[in-house]
Structures are given as structure tokens and as C-alpha cells.
């Protein structure tokens, strides 16, 4: 561990509907339709607020994958979903994911600012691009533009949105004529308590990170190892500084998949039982998509061939996330597992996020270590099952972090931007 770092850690919850594990819906605490029940969602918001958590996140994408065995594909529209939750909470930040690929920048800017206004300045937009033909076909297109183009569109999209948010404050017309968009107009939605929504960026491709360095105030990162997390943390902070911003204006929160128990054994048992209750077919499907190679063609008891690790078969048409892929490959190269061992280690986590199984005390150790090592500003915690996992975070983890001086005792700021800026400053900014 390096020098003690002043200030406190940031804590978000990635609300993967009922929990990140496919078997989450089988919890006896849930109804079959909890994922569309306003009472369920209100309870998520209230529990997060009881733990004085900084923000709750909601992923999104304009398409449906098969929900046969898993509630994760269900997507209530995030501004509506978090709009309802905002109405029953007062402090917790609310982060809604929305695609720059399949939205109109004027409509989205107006809606996000309206939602931010109605939350009392607690809203953030997590900007993502959308991949894949399934989503494209919902918008009359045979397929989405290739990767390069998608990020250029995202970059221009965010500029239009920010200009429109500025117009809400100044009343000045925006006159934007770019490669993708032509917008002449202004918003008539009043600025929110925090002015306009906070911007988050998710994903670890070079273009994604460049965009984050330019505009994001929070990054939802995917990191499997601490060393790699430190490197990426410093990279994004440096990109922010290169754009004339303070490194403290962009906060880095990697995801962390969690199974918690009151003993390590209990946590492992919980994790094993939840994994075993899930559909057996998921792991190979997940790995194939994540690495851009048909994993069913791999020998299960052999290590990964180097050519499979080196690159997706075609980077231009690869449908997965480059950031996740990079993080997975680094992990495989480090531990050299066989394919079967790797699948058992990672199960079907569904992402390149690191996993943690243990007690709240051990989790606090982990957070403290990564925080003082300069790998994170906070974590975006992803419980296996939210309905009983989130209360453990709010009622057990948070008090431990408070005792250690790593977390605040009550909300001290009243907007999401305020919450984020109250987090610990970037360690050793002069050496970035």
C-alpha cells in the first residue's frame, strides 16, 4: 500500500436489474415481475440512500436479448425508471445510460435536462455507443456504422448536447453544422440545480478514453488487475489535463462484481449456489462474445492459444467491447489458465469487470488498497442479487468504511456533481 490518501472514496451501485447473476430472479425475496415493479425500484433507491451512496447506475441498450432465464436483458427506459426513483429519494445521484448511436441529440438533451431538473440536480448521462445489427434493425438500418464512425458520431453528439444545455442557461441559439448533425435551436428547459447533467463515459477503447478525457466527469471503467487499473487511471487523468481540465474533474469508478457473506465461506457458498442455479449454457456464449472468437471451438483443458488472445478475428466488425477484451486478455496472460479453469474462475460474469467474493470487512480492505494505490476514485459495485446484497453494502460495508475514515457519515452535498467533486483529489497529480 502506498501513502495514505486524503478524502473519501466514491461509491456507486450498478443496478443490473435484479443483480448481475442470471439466477438473481430466483431469490425468494422477489416476485416474478419485480423487475417492472415500482415498489422494487423505490426500495433500491431508498436503500442506496440509507447508505449515503453517491450514485446508482442503470445500463441500457435499445434492443432485447432473450430474457428466458435472466432479468438482465429487461430494460425499462432509464430516464423514466430513475425519474420515478428520484421522486422517492432526495440525495442519491442517478446515472442513466443512453446511446449516442440511436438517439436524436436535441430530443435527448431536452429530456436529460428535464429529468435533471426534476431530480433537483442529481442526474448523470452515461454516454455509450451501440453495437450490433439487432439494435440497428429497430431503427430501420441493416447494421450500425463501423466502430470508428460510431465514436466520431458520439463525439459530435456530445458537443451538440452540451451546447444545447448551455443554451438553456444563456437563451442563445445553438447553430451547429457538423458532419452528422445540423441543429439550430435552443432548449427552453430551465437549468437544474447543478446546471446540467453530469457526464459519464463507459468503456475502455482508445477513442472512448479520449472522449472521457475531453468531456467526462466520471468514467465507469472495467479493470481486472490493480496494476492495469493504476495505468488506466493515470492515462484518463492525463488526458483530462491535456484537455486543459483538472484531473480532479474526472472520477474513475471501475465496476466490481460482488458476492458478500458474513464469513468468507458463506460468501463463497452464496456465490456457488447462485452460479449453479443459473443457466449452464451462458459461459461459452459469453466468452465467445467477449473475445471475438467462437469459444466452443477451444479445447477446454488446454491454455488459450496465443492467436486467439492476440486480437479479435476482425477488429472492425468485432461486436464486443475492446476495453473488456483487453482486460480479459491481460488476466488470462497473467494466470495462464486452461479454458475450463478460466470459465470456472470467471463463470459467466457477463463482463470484463473484476469479481469479489468475501466479507464486507475484506471488501473494505480491497477498496482501501485500490484507493490508496491510486487505482480508483471509487467503485461501482455490482451485487450478485440486489434485493439482499444492496442492504449489506448500505448497512455493513459503509459503516466499516466510515470507521476507517474512507467514507462520509451523511450527505454533505446536494447535487450529483457536488457528490463527485467532494471525492478524494487525484493523488500525485504532478507525476501524471
Amino acid at each position: 500500500m502506498t501513502d495514505r490518501r486524503p478524502g473519501h472514496v466514491l461509491l456507486g451501485i450498478n443496478v443490473l436489474v435484479l443483480g448481475y447473476l442470471p439466477a438473481a430472479w430466483q431469490s425468494p425475496l422477489l416476485k416474478k415481475d419485480s423487475f417492472v415493479d415500482p415498489g422494487y425500484w423505490a426500495e433500491i433507491g431508498r436503500t442506496a440512500e440509507r447508505g449515503t451512496l453517491d450514485a446508482i447506475f442503470l445500463a441500457d441498450g435499445p434492443l432485447l436479448t432473450d430474457p428466458a432465464y435472466d432479468a438482465n436483458p429487461v430494460r425499462l427506459e432509464p430516464t423514466v425508471n430513475w425519474g420515478q426513483v428520484a421522486a422517492v429519494t432526495e440525495h442519491v445521484g442517478l446515472v442513466a445510460t443512453a446511446s449516442t448511436t440511436f438517439n436524436d441529440p436535441f430530443e435527448l438533451a431536452e429530456r436529460l435536462l428535464s429529468w435533471d431538473n426534476l431530480t433537483g440536480g442529481r442526474a448523470a448521462w452515461n454516454l455509450v455507443t451501440t453495437r450490433g445489427a439487432a439494435a440497428a434493425r429497430n431503427f430501420g438500418l441493416p447494421d450500425v456504422p463501423l466502430r470508428e464512425d460510431r465514436y466520431e458520431r458520439a463525439s459530435e453528439f456530445v458537443d451538440v448536447v452540451r451546447a444545447l444545455w448551455a443554451s438553456a442557461a444563456t437563451g442563445d441559439e445553438v447553430r451547429h453544422h457538423g458532419e452528422f448533425f445540423d441543429v439550430e435551436g435552443r432548449l427552453r428547459v430551465p437549468p437544474s440545480r447543478q446546471g446540467h447533467p453530469v457526464l459519464f463515459q463507459a468503456g475502455g477503447s482508445p477513442k472512448g478514453r479520449a472522449l472521457a478525457g475531453r468531456v467526462a466527469e466520471g468514467v465507469f471503467a472495467a479493470e481486472l488487475t490493480k496494476d492495469q487499473a493504476i495505468e488506466h487511471y493515470r492515462l484518463v487523468k492525463r488526458l483530462a489535463r491535456d484537455n486543459g481540465r483538472s484531473p480532479d474533474e474526472v472520477k474513475i469508478l471501475p465496476g466490481l462484481l460482488l458476492s458478500l457473506g458474513s464469513t468468507e465461506d458463506e460468501a463463497r457458498r452464496r456465490s456457488d449456489e447462485l452460479h449453479d442455479a443459473g443457466p449452464a449454457s451462458y459461459s461459452l456464449q459469453w466468452l465467445s462474445q467477449a473475445i471475438g472468437y467462437d469459444a466452443s471451438k477451444l479445447e477446454l483443458d488446454e491454455p488459450f492459444p496465443e492467436d486467439v488472445l492476440a486480437a479479435p478475428s476482425d477488429p472492425q466488425t468485432f461486436q464486443g467491447s475492446l476495453g473488456f477484451r483487453e482486460s480479459i486478455v491481460a488476466q488470462i496472460r497473467r494466470t495462464k489458465p486452461t479454458v475450463r479453469e478460466y470459465l470456472k474462475q470467471t463463470r459467466y460474469t457477463g463482463s470484463g469487470h473484476a469479481g469479489f467474493v468475501g466479507t464486507p470487512e475484506q471488501l473494505a480492505d480491497h477498496i482501501e488498497d485500490w484507493f490508496h494505490s491510486g487505482a480508483i476514485d471509487g467503485f461501482n459495485l455490482q451485487p450478485d442479487v440486489l434485493v439482499d446484497g444492496l442492504p449489506v453494502i448500505a448497512d455493513e460495508l459503509v459503516p466499516i468504511l466510515r470507521k476507517r475514515g474512507l467514507y462520509r457519515h451523511e450527505y454533505e452535498t446536494d447535487t450529483l456533481r457536488g457528490h463527485l467533486l467532494a471525492g478524494s483529489p487525484t493523488p500525485s497529480p504532478e507525476t501524471l
Partner: protein, 306 residues
């Protein structure tokens, strides 16, 4: 002719007034009106007011902050896409307990026009779009309805023994082909209360050729429809099913609620607050999608433990 019911319509500044005042909101929630249109000035060919809020965002706030009031969110295809709109409509349906619906109009008074000939959705810069006409808006209504029905609510089974959450073999593609081409399915189930009410606001001044209201619309508001939109303070018409009181931007929500209370006391038909909008209006369930619709997923199989 039975006594008409009363409904309300709010313009941009009223949305801020209502959501900014808890006492006013509580009063609104208790009022026995059929529904309230959120943001009618967006789609009724008015000039934009000085301030407004997006209607679906206001709907989400009302879903969480109130228990009984029913509402229609105003929407136009100008900058919105039916897939994105259907998602918000279905989400509101779930989170409001069916108290919500959508009211479509042709053009959005608060939005800049899109590219010529593709003013509807063309501004998204994806190389697709449609002319901003009533026909396009009608097609958006049809698409929203179909999309909401692609995933029947009762396909959610939560069968713990078979480890099947959703009988996803019953989820179908929308395969909508009109002004829009939309494969679907929607990524949320139909609300438990059934497909959301989809209404049409006929306007005196329209863009492009006027089309007859499509049968998809549960409700038609406007000059010649059975539900009349009446400026607050004007004389009430005879021979209509419902009356929608519409204040001007310089009249307040408090004035609107005062007038509504008086008109209800004077004999307009109260509609008890609470419960789904479809039931409050006495509307039949939406016609189901054709049984020949293309399945989106294979029939799920019972899962074994590892």
C-alpha cells in the same frame, strides 16, 4: 348523450408549476378528472412558451410522487423515434400502475426542424427519416402500440423449478413496415394493465395533408373529435364525450384546478382518481398482435443445475 367527463391539459410553464409545488400536486392527484395531458403545447401548433419540460420526464416524476392522477405524455415524431418512445411509454405504464398513456401530434413546437423531406427522425443523422406529416405521426402511433405488445405480460412466469423466468418463445418481432421500419421486440414487457392508451391530437393547423385518424388510436382529441379541447374560460361545447380544459401559458395551474373543481361541482361527470387510464375511460383492451407474428426467441427449455 351522457354528461361529458372532464380532463386537463398543461402547457410548458404549467409542467414546471405543477412539479414545483407539492401542495398543488397533491390537489391535482385528488381531482376526479379523467386524465391530464402533459405538454399539449408541444403538439397543438402553438408557439413555444418561455419554459417547458420533456413530458415523459414529468410523467416519471408523477409516477413516483403521486398515486392516483392519470396522464398522457405529449409526443411527436419530429425528434423522437417510435422505438425510443415506446420504451418510455411502456416504462411509464409499469411504474405508474397503468395511469399513463401517450398523446401524439404531428410536429414538436419546441424542436428545430430536421432535414428537408426527413423532418421526422432525420435530425438523428442516421440517413433515415420520414416527412413530418400526419401520416408519419399515425404510423408512429401504430408502431408504439405494436412494440408494446411484442412481449405479453403473462409470458413472465418465474418458474423456479424449470429455472425459466420468461416464456420468451411467446415474444414476437413487431416487423413494422410503414413510415418506419422496426424489427422489435421491445425490451420491456407490456404493462400488467395492458397496452398503454395511445391518443391522437387532431390539430386545426396541420403540416402536410390531413389523414383520417388511424383505428389504432384509443382516443382522439381536437376540434372535430368526440373529446374537445377547450381554452380555459371559454364556453363548454355540447354533444361531446369529454372536455379537455386547456389554460393559456399566462393562466396558472391553480386557476385551472379551481375551474375544474367548480365545473365538476356544476355537473360535469367526475371520474374517480386512481387505477389504469384505459379502465377510467372505459376503453376495450387493445386488439392483440396477429398470431402469425414471427417469434423472436426459441421456446425456453427447463435448465439443469451444473
Amino acid at each position: 348523450m351522457p354528461t361529458p367527463y372532464l380532463a386537463l391539459a398543461l402547457a410548458g410553464p404549467h409542467l414546471l408549476e405543477l412539479t414545483g409545488d407539492p401542495a398543488l400536486l397533491a390537489r391535482w392527484d385528488d381531482l376526479p378528472v379523467a386524465f391530464t395531458v402533459l405538454g399539449i403545447d408541444r403538439i397543438d401548433a402553438s408557439s413555444p412558451a418561455a419554459t417547458t419540460l420533456d413530458a415523459s420526464s414529468v410523467g416519471a416524476a408523477l409516477a413516483g410522487r403521486t398515486a392516483r392522477g392519470r396522464f398522457l405524455v405529449a409526443a411527436s415524431p419530429q425528434r423522437d423515434h417510435p422505438y425510443n418512445l415506446a420504451r418510455r411509454v411502456a416504462s411509464l405504464g409499469h411504474l405508474s400502475g397503468g395511469r399513463s398513456g401517450v398523446l401524439l401530434g404531428t410536429a414538436d413546437a419546441y424542436a428545430p426542424p430536421g432535414p428537408e423531406g426527413a423532418e421526422a427522425w432525420g435530425g438523428a443523422g442516421l440517413g433515415v427519416g420520414a416527412p413530418l406529416t400526419e401520416a408519419t405521426a399515425h404510423d408512429a402511433g401504430r408502431a408504439v402500440r405494436k412494440l408494446e405488445q411484442t412481449w405479453p405480460y403473462d409470458a413472465i412466469v418465474g418458474d423456479r423449478a424449470a429455472k425459466i423466468l420468461v416464456q420468451s418463445g411467446r415474444i414476437v418481432h413487431a416487423d413494422h413496415e410503414g413510415a418506419y421500419s422496426i424489427a422489435g421486440p421491445l425490451n420491456a414487457p407490456e404493462p400488467a394493465t395492458g397496452a398503454s392508451v395511445v391518443g391522437w391530437l387532431a390539430s386545426a393547423s396541420t403540416v402536410g395533408p390531413a389523414a383520417a385518424p388511424d383505428p389504432v388510436f384509443d382516443l382522439v382529441l381536437g376540434p372535430d373529435g368526440p373529446v374537445a379541447v377547450v381554452p380555459l374560460g371559454d364556453e363548454l361545447p355540447d354533444g361531446v364525450d369529454g372536455i379537455v380544459l386547456r389554460p393559456s401559458a399566462d393562466q396558472s395551474v391553480a386557476e385551472l384546478l379551481d375551474t375544474a373543481t367548480r365545473l365538476l361541482a356544476d355537473g360535469l361527470r367526475p371520474v374517480e382518481p386512481g387505477g389504469p387510464l384505459r379502465a377510467a375511460l372505459g376503453l376495450a383492451a387493445a386488439a392483440p398482435l396477429p398470431s402469425t407474428s414471427r417469434a423472436a426467441f426459441p421456446v425456453p427449455q427447463p435448465q439443469q443445475s451444473l
